[in-house]
Symmetry: C2
Subunit: 485 residues, 2 copies
C-alpha cells in the first residue's frame, strides 16, 4: 500500500503554504539576532514560544497534545526552566502499528555577521529553490514535514494508517536536559506510560551523504572524551630560567598525545582498533554502492586530504571504524605572537568515536592504562591525571526490520531511487535512548542534503527536499502500515 | 684602592633617605593601578614622568643630562612616542677609565588583584626589611643605587674615580624600541659619538642565583622562536563526520612537536646539542662551587621536578646548554570543557635557548630542515609551514677582564664573600648590543636576590641588598680605577 495519490498531489499543491509555515517557524519569535536558540539563556523564552507554536499547530490539526516540564538547569549561575517538550498523540487503534516520531524545534545560534548572506531568522527563498535560514534543515524543516503530513490527511479526510506518538524537543542543541529521564520514567510506568505500545521510532534529524541521493541511516558512532592532565611546577615558569633544569609538563603531554594516533588515522591505543572485526565482502559491497566519492569528501573538507584514494576505506573509516581526534590543549599558550612560558599544568583533550562492540566502559580503561604506561616510560617527575568526560555508546540498527523495509520502499516510491544505507560518524544521543529504553527499532530518515550546513552559516533546505521529504514521511507511514509484521 | 671608608659610612647613615627616594620612584606617578608601565599605552605618559624624575635627580647631582628621542611605535593601532632615554655624563678625564652604566626605569604591569598583598605602587617596608613594590628590584632599585653612589660622592666631596656614562631606558619591558639604533648611530659617529671612550659596561638588572650569595654574571642564553603551522581543511571540521576520513592537522602537529625534545631535556633536532662541547673539569668546578642546590631549584619551581639529582648537571642545563620548551598551540581548542572539533589550522610554538657557539643563523636552518624531513615521513596530505620569529644571539663575557676583576674584588670587599660566577638562562638583549656594537667588555652586577619576584606579584628588594648593593656599585667604581689596565 503506497501512499494515496491524493496525498502526494495535496503536498505538491500546498507547497507554498508549507514553505510559509516554515518561514513562520524560522522567524519565531523575532528578536535582534537569535531565536529559539536553546544554548542562550536570554533566548530561552523564545524557545518556549516555539514550543507554544508547535502545540497550537498540533491542536489545530486535532492532535491531542501535552507539554512536558523537563525541570531546570543551571546556566551561567542561574537556575532556569528548561523549555517544555511538546508531545502529540494520534490514534490508539490496536489494529494499527504505533510509530514514535522525534524531532527538535530549538536551533543553533546564528548571527548575520558570522558570514550569513541573508538574515538567518528570515527564511529566504533563493532562485534555485534553496530555503535559507537557521533551522530550515536542522530541525524545523523536518518537524514541519510531519505537520504537513498530518494537515494533508486531515484536509483530505484520509485516515492515518498508523497510530502516532510525537516527541518534539526544545533542548536538543543543548544536551537534551531532562529528556532521557522523562523517557525512562514514562517507560517505567508500563501500560500507563506515554510510550506504551510504541512499535518503532522514526527520527528525521540528519542528512543525506551527498546532494543527490536520499539515504536511510542505521548507525551512529559513540564517543569517549578524555582529558590528559600533566602538572609539574606550582606556577608557570620562565623558559630562560628553567629551560633544561626541570621536567616540563608540555613536553610530557605532547609525548603522550603523540602516541595516540598515526597521521593516517590508525589508533595506537592497544586493543581499540582490534576490537572491530574486518568487513566481509558483503559489507564492503554496502559501502561500494553508496553514492559517494573521494571527490565528495574532499569537496566538503575543502582540501584534498582524504586518508585514502579508496572510497570504501574512507567511508568505512567514517561509518564502521573508530576514530581518534586531538582537539586541543588547555593551560598552554594559545594566543597569537610569541610567548616563552613553561606552562605549569596542561590538559590535552582528545576523543575517540566508537563503533560496536566498543562502549565507553570497554574503551576508557584501555586508554587510561595505556596513557599511564606510556607516562611511566617517560621517567618524568611531573604528575599525570587522566579524566574521563561524558561518553556515549555507538548504535547500529537491524536493517532487516520492517521499519527499514518501509523506509526503503517509501524512498523508492517518492524518489524512484534505492536509498544509500548509511551510518553516521557522529552521534544523536536520543537515538540510543529510544533504542535501549523502549527496546524497539529506531530509524533515521533524513530530509535534507549533505551540504545543508546545519550548525554552520547559510543553513538551507532545498525546496524539493522539503516537499519530496514531506511526501517521504507520509509515504513511510503508509508503507509501515502495509507490511505484515 | 678600595672605596673610601667615608663613602661606605655615608651609605649606611643615609639609608632611610635612599629608601624614601626609592618609594618616590616606585610611586611615580600615582594613578589607579599601573605606573611607569611601558607596555600599556594609557600609562606611557607616566613613563615619561619617570624619565623627568630621573633627569631632575641627575641634574641635582650635577650630572650633565640629555633626553634622547627614540621615535614612535605603533601600539594598538596608535602611533605613539616612545618614552625618552635619559643619558648622563660625568667626567672626561683622559687619565680615568670610562664606565657605561645601563638600567631601566620602566616596570612590568601590576594590579593588586593579581595577588599582591600590598598596593604594588606604594613601597611597603616589611618588618624583615623587605622593600615591597613594583620595580623595587627590577629595575628602579638598582638605578637608584647609582644615584645614591653619586650623591654620597658629591656630598662628601670625593671625586669619582672613573668617568661615567649613564643610559637609563624607559622601554626595557617593551622591547627597548629605538635603543639599538641609537647606540649604533652614536657609535658610528666615532669620536663625536656619545659612547666614545667607553672602556667597559656595567649593567645591574638581574639577580643572585640564590638568597644568600652575591653573584657576578658573565653569560646569557640566546633564543630562536619557531612557529610550526600545519593546515588541512579550509574550515574546522566535526570529528564525528570527518574523524578517520581526512588527515587531521592536530595529529600531524603533535607528531612533529613530539620529536623535538625528550622528557629529560635532550634536544632531538640533529646538530643542536652536538654544537656544544662538553665541559672540562675546570669548567665543571665553576658550577660545583656555586652556592646552589637541587633543593633551591625545586623550591623556586615549587615541586620536586629537577631533571637530575646532580647539581652540576642541572646548573649546566640552565647556564651552558641549549634548552627547548614547547609553549603552546594557536588555533586548537584551548577552553575548559569538551569540544569535538578538528581544527583546520594549528600552529605549534616552541623556542630554543642558545649558548655559544650557537646563533639563530646556525640553529634555524637545522630546525627547519628537521621539521620538514619529519613531516615528509608522516606522508600527510596536510601542509606544513615553518615560521621563524625574532631571535637573539647568546652572550658570554671574558671573566679574566679587569671589569670582572673589579666586580669580584668589590663583592669581596662589601660582602666578604667570593661571588658566584653565573650565567643566566634568559636574555637581556641590550647586553649583546653593547658588547657587539661598542666592542667592549660587559659585566652584569646584580643588586637583588633570586627570590625578588621581578615580573611577579609582591616584587621586593631586601633593604640590605639595596644598601649593601649601593656600596657594591660604588666600590666597584673604585676597584675599576685601582686596576692598572
Ligand atoms: Zn538536529
Ligand atoms: Zn543540530
Ligand atoms: Zn629589568
Ligand atoms: Zn624586567
Amino acid at each position: 500500500m503506497p501512499a494515496p495519490a491524493t496525498f502526494l498531489g495535496y503536498i505538491d499543491e500546498h507547497a507554498d503554504r508549507f514553505i510559509k509555515r516554515l518561514a513562520d517557524a524560522v522567524a519565531i519569535p523575532r528578536r535582534l539576532n537569535a531565536f529559539s536558540v536553546s544554548g542562550d539563556r536570554t533566548h530561552r523564552e523564545d524557545v518556549v514560544k516555539m514550543a507554544k507554536f508547535m502545540e497550537d499547530q498540533l491542536k489545530a490539526l486535532g492532535v491531542q497534545t501535552r507539554l512536558v516540564d523537563l525541570g531546570t538547569e543551571n546556566l551561567e549561575g542561574h537556575e532556569i526552566k528548561v523549555p517544555p517538550a511538546v508531545l502529540g498523540k494520534i490514534g490508539e487503534d490496536p489494529g494499527k502499528k504505533t510509530i514514535l516520531v522525534y524531532g527538535h524545534f530549538d536551533v543553533q545560534p546564528a548571527i548575520k555577521s558570522d558570514g550569513w548572506n541573508t538574515d538567518p531568522f528570515t527564511l529566504t527563498i533563493a532562485d534555485d529553490g534553496q530555503l535559507i535560514g537557521r533551522g530550515s534543515s536542522d530541525d524545523k524543516g523536518p518537524i514541519l514535514g510531519w505537520l504537513n503530513v498530518l494537515e494533508a490527511h486531515k484536509d483530505l479526510g484520509i485516515e492515518l494508517p498508523v497510530n502516532l506518538r510525537l516527541v518534539f524537543e526544545g533542548m536538543e542543541e543543548s544536551g537534551s536536559i531532562g529528556l532521557d529521564e522523562f523517557i525512562a520514567a514514562e517507560h517505567a510506568r508500563g501500560k500507563d506510560g506515554w510510550f506504551h505500545g510504541v512499535d518503532a521510532v522514526c527520527i528525521s534529524d540528519n542528512y543525506w551523504l551527498n546532494t543527490r541521493t536520499p539515504c536511510v541511516t542505521y548507525g551512529l558512532r559513540g564517543l569517549v572524551y578524555i582529558l590528559v592532565e600533566v602538572s609539574g611546577p606550582t606556577r608557570d615558569l620562565h623558559s630562560g630560567v628553567f629551560g633544561r633544569t626541570v621536567h616540563e609538563p608540555m613536553t610530557d603531554l605532547i609525548a603522550l598525545l603523540g602516541k595516540l594516533v598515526t597521521s593516517d588515522g590508525k589508533i595506537l591505543v592497544p586493543g581499540v582498533d582490534d576490537m572491530i572485526s574486518a568487513a566481509d565482502d558483503e559489507e564492503k559491497a554496502l559501502y561500494e554502492c553508496l553514492d559517494y566519492s573521494i571527490a565528495d569528501i574532499e569537496a566538503s573538507a575543502g582540501a584534498p586530504i582524504a586518508l585514502s584514494d579508496d572510497k570504501i576505506q574512507v567511508l568505512m573509516g567514517r561509518m564502521r571504524q573508530p576514530s581518534l581526534s586531538i582537539h586541543g590543549i588547555e593551560g598552554a599558550f594559545y594566543g597569537a605572537g610569541a610567548k616563552t612560558v613553561i606552562p605549569a599544568k596542561v590538559t590535552g583533550k582528545f576523543s575517540i568515536r566508537l563503533v560496536p562492540p566498543q562502549t565507553p566502559d570497554k574503551i576508557n580503561p584501555l586508554v587510561v592504562q595505556y596513557l599511564e604506561a606510556e607516562f611511566a616510560k617517560l621517567n618524568s617527575k611531573n604528575k599525570l591525571r587522566v579524566l574521563l568526560e561524558h561518553g556515549g555508546k555507538p548504535w547500529v540498527a537491524d536493517i532487516k526490520h520492517w521499519n527499514y523495509e518501509a523506509a526503503i520502499k517509501a524512498t523508492q516510491a517518492v524518489y524512484n531511487k534505492r536509498p544509500d544505507m548509511t551510518r553516521e560518524g557522529g552521534s544523536i544521543p536520543v537515538t540510543l535512548t529510544f533504542a535501549e529504553t523502549l527496546g524497539v527499532n529506531v530509524l533515521l530518515l533524513p530530509m535534507g542534503r549533505g551540504d545543508d550546513g546545519a550548525h554552520s552559516t547559510n543553513e538551507k533546505l532545498d525546496r524539493s527536499n522539503f516537499i519530496e521529504g514531506t511526501k517521504l514521511l507520509g509515504t513511510y507511514l503508509h508503507e509501515v502500515a502495509a507490511i505484515n509484521a
